[in-house]
């Protein structure tokens, strides 16, 4: 028997929730334009743009890891929030520096945060929304007073160099948010969630090898099984259907109508998925928060990166009702409803003054 909340039930207790008080993004400086993609793929700029909406994506330089991108985004988000004390660090990633340990403890130490609670969330491209739910849980349960949530990915080193369809999509990047405990009527409050999964689709997006499965039957795996694999056709249909359903559910829980959505920020998977979801919710194109053209699909990092970028351009305003929706490997999906806060500063993908973060 499955126990489900009635779809219209508020998911959060009315008295306490998480309030957003800082957000930032970071992408590595090396950009790969469509025309610079491998000649063997036989693609040109117009073809890639028509198919994906992507003009360029960033690549981490050799020696630069997911943890390095996370550090930069986290330092910027903490600065944007006024460098408050943080007692929990959550990292959302599916491209961790190592299988073990989690990324969050090392990040907390590199940031000089003392010894906060620190753990990773593995929900692939839904990682930021799942991480946000973890942050709300930590704050409302009293486990933490302020959470640093960082989503970071280096996909470029996980892709098969011969896999054109993944190669044109994915980029490297990170986004980070600072959240504190607060009341639902404050600007910045996270008001409702919908999270879901369907493990019967676990092979649609995966890295087959490199885990206990391969170690238990090493003869059944080859070196190519260490690469990211995605079945695009099926993923497209699941992504559009699940993101649309999840958005509708969270709207009910937040007691918002579709036309109440001021800004819609979905996982930047592919511009055509975004427009298919937007048409079905529906949300008009001019309310979409998007930066896929410039950074590609950055996995869990895509939502905070797009939000930070929009905030840095002055496209997000205090009091706006913002809907977040994500879909990723697992399969996993999730949505969150929040009210945008007044933020002092945000750094997106544009070059900014380097943030001084203590590096341990």
């Amino acid at each position: 028997m499955t126990l489900r909340l009635p779809s219209a039930a508020p998911l959060l207790t009315p008295s306490r929730t998480a309030v957003l008080e800082g957000i930032a993004g970071y992408v590595p400086p090396d950009a790969v334009a469509n025309d610079a993609l491998p000649a063997a793929w036989g693609v040109d700029d117009a073809w890639v743009r028509r198919r994906t909406g992507i003009g360029e994506r960033r690549r981490a330089a050799p020696g630069v890891t997911t943890g390095d991108l996370a550090l930069e985004a986290a330092g910027r988000a903490l600065s944007a929030a006024g460098r408050p004390a943080v007692d929990a660090v959550v990292v959302a990633t599916s491209t961790p520096d190592r299988p073990m340990p989690a990324m969050a403890p090392r990040l907390a130490t590199r940031l000089g945060l003392g010894g906060p609670a620190a753990w990773d969330v593995s929900a692939a491209c839904s990682g930021f929304v799942y991480g946000l739910a973890a942050a709300v849980g930590a704050l409302t349960s009293g486990c933490a007073d302020r959470v640093l949530l960082v989503a970071a990915e280096v996909y470029s080193t996980l892709l098969d160099p011969q896999d054109r369809s993944a190669g044109i999509l994915f980029g490297d990047g990170a986004g980070a948010a600072v959240l504190r405990r607060g009341a639902p009527d404050e600007p910045g409050a996270v008001l409702a969630f919908d999270l879901g999964s369907d493990g019967s689709g676990d092979e649609l997006i995966q890295v087959p090898g490199g885990g206990a499965l391969e170690r238990s039957s090493p003869g059944e795996f080859g070196p190519d099984d260490r690469y990211f694999r995605m079945r695009g056709h099926d993923v497209f249909q699941h992504a559009v259907t699940r993101m649309t359903q999840s958005a509708h559910t969270v709207l009910k829980r937040a007691d918002w109508a579709a036309e109440d959505i001021d800004r819609f920020c979905a996982h930047q998977a592919n511009a055509r998925i975004l427009s298919a979801v937007g048409a079905r919710i529906p949300v008009p194109d001019d309310r979409h928060v998007t930066n896929i053209a410039r950074v590609g699909n950055t996995g869990a990092a895509s939502i905070p990166l797009a939000l930070a970028d929009a905030a840095a351009r002055g496209e997000l305003h205090a009091g706006q009702r913002v809907l977040l929706t994500a879909f990723g490997a697992g399969l996993t999906w999730g949505s969150a409803a929040l009210v945008w806060p007044e933020l002092s500063a945000a750094s997106g993908i544009e070059a900014v003054d380097p943030v001084r973060v203590p590096v341990v």
């Binding site: 028509r50 198919r51 695009g232 056709h233 099926d234 497209f236 559009v240 592919n270 055509r272 298919a276």
Partner: protein, 77 residues
């Protein structure tokens, strides 16, 4: 025109801006300029419109409009 035929025609003309004169039974989906992502989108739109599942191989690059309509008609029968 059967409901399936009109759904296929409507999706192709409205969502993918295919001119109606090109939508002939022998036309392959590829010849209508549908790339692989567009095929996924077409399958999803027809699923939503007709309430029957549309598998990847049923709306493939080499499928003709006539084959697609016949497959969907059979599913709805």
């Amino acid at each position: 025109m059967s409901p399936v035929q009109s759904a296929v025609t409507a999706v192709l003309t409205q969502k993918f801006e295919v001119s109606p004169e090109y939508i002939r039974p022998e036309a392959t989906l590829e010849s209508l300029d549908l790339d692989s992502l567009a095929l996924a989108e077409l399958a999803l739109a027809l699923q939503e419109e007709l309430g029957v599942p549309v598998a990847e191989e049923e709306a493939a690059r080499h499928s003709t409009v006539g084959e697609l309509v016949a497959t969907l008609n059979a599913k709805r029968a």
